[in-house]
């Protein structure tokens, strides 16, 4: 696969811009959250269009974009092997401790 940011080979045309994943931080102190994707020619355009498409109702104070092709994802076929074994390991949840009353939001 070629880098989609590079110019296409002479004689070829690309009819679609690359896909970008958009992450928006709703307010200072919170994490950026994945909120969707869009097409844009490059990173600068992706940030602007993310602002247009995903923050037009005051959803955000900061935007990240990352090329979808740069994300390495787990294989859905590995789901059983990867995640099912965690089903019966309740002892990994710290739910057997008594917390002091003054500790919030654990």
């Amino acid at each position: 696969m070629t880098d989609q940011n590079e110019r296409p080979e002479p004689g070829t045309t690309t009819t679609e811009w690359p896909l970008w994943e958009v992450f928006v931080r709703p307010k200072a102190g919170l994490d950026h959250k994945h909120c969707g994707s869009l097409h844009a020619a490059d990173a600068a355009m992706a940030v602007q269009l993310a602002r247009e498409v995903y923050t037009r109702r005051q959803e955000g104070t900061s935007v990240w974009v990352v090329k979808s092709s740069d994300i390495t994802a787990s294989d859905p076929g590995d789901k059983a092997m990867y995640f099912d074994p965690m089903e019966d390991k309740v002892y990994r949840h710290p739910s057997f401790y008594k917390l002091p009353g003054s500790v919030d939001h654990m």
Partner: protein, 262 residues
């Protein structure tokens, strides 16, 4: 509709109408943008401009003193009672007899030229002796700055893009440029605004505009066309043939169903 026109009111309506008419032209793209994301961007910008126009028209109507409201100002004034820059009323998406229209290059270029002009104007109006106008300007300048960046990026992309896109940008520039002289053609209305501290004369924006627009054009590999003696006259209420058709469409509903609400 009778309008009690004063230099102060005309100064405000020049800005309000430029925003309103530019918003209406941009809104013609709604549902027709070249890509979904840019379609949303164009209509977002149209809505910013419409918001600015509404605030200014409400303020202008209060100053006018006959108890008019923003809707009456927008939808019941006749062509010669509009004072927008003539550039804003030129066809944008759809073509017409004297303008090919329909080229995205015209849209991004006009959006950039007007956004830069409006940003410079809003910056100065933030210090207006009219507190209401200063408050509107304080909010609008952030919107204009973004419009300028968004549209300016497109000018650079297309100007510095392929041979085809560069040729289209050059053609759009040649079409728009004759109308830019009006942006700086100060007259008695401007003099009165300067005297009362209401706002700057248009001429005072010229040096900064030429510098900022020139920088983007240079990056885009485009050259500003030579200036011509032609100065358009929309800000005096004398418009090109396009505004009448545009108002017919824009005002039809309010004129057919006065005061209609839904």
């Amino acid at each position: 509709m009778e309008l009690r026109l004063t230099p102060q009111l005309q100064y405000l309506l020049r800005i309000a109408d430029t925003c309103l008419i530019h918003a209406q032209r941009l809104a013609e793209w709604c549902g027709h943008g070249p890509v979904l994301e840019e379609d949303i961007a164009l209509t977002n910008m149209a809505l910013d401009l419409l918001g600015q126009a509404r605030a200014l028209l409400t303020h202008a109507a209060a100053l006018e003193g006959q108890g008019l409201d923003e809707d009456q100002m927008a939808f019941l004034r006749d062509e010669r009672q509009f004072f927008n820059l003539t550039l804003a009323e030129q066809p944008m998406r759809r073509s017409s007899a004297h303008s090919p229209g329909g080229d995205f290059a015209d849209t991004v270029l006009r959006n950039f030229l007007l956004a830069c002009w409006l940003r410079l104007l809003w910056q100065r109006l933030a210090g207006s002796s009219d507190g209401e106008l200063a408050a509107i300007a304080g909010k609008a300048v952030k919107e204009a700055r973004y419009h300028e960046q968004h549209a300016g990026d497109w000018v650079i992309r297309l100007g510095d893009g392929t041979e085809e896109s560069a040729a289209r940008m050059r053609a759009a520039l040649a079409r728009a440029w004759p109308y830019t002289a009006e942006m700086f053609a100060s007259d008695a209305v401007d003099d009165s605004a300067v005297a009362s501290g209401l706002g700057p004369a248009r001429q005072a924006l010229q040096a900064d505009w030429q510098r900022d627009v020139g920088a983007v054009l240079q990056e885009a590999g485009l050259a500003a066309p030579a200036s011509t003696p032609f100065v358009s006259t929309g800000t005096r209420g004398l418009h090109s043939e396009h505004l009448g058709f545009m108002l017919a469409e824009m005002q039809m509903l309010q004129r057919s169903f006065p005061g209609g609400r839904w």
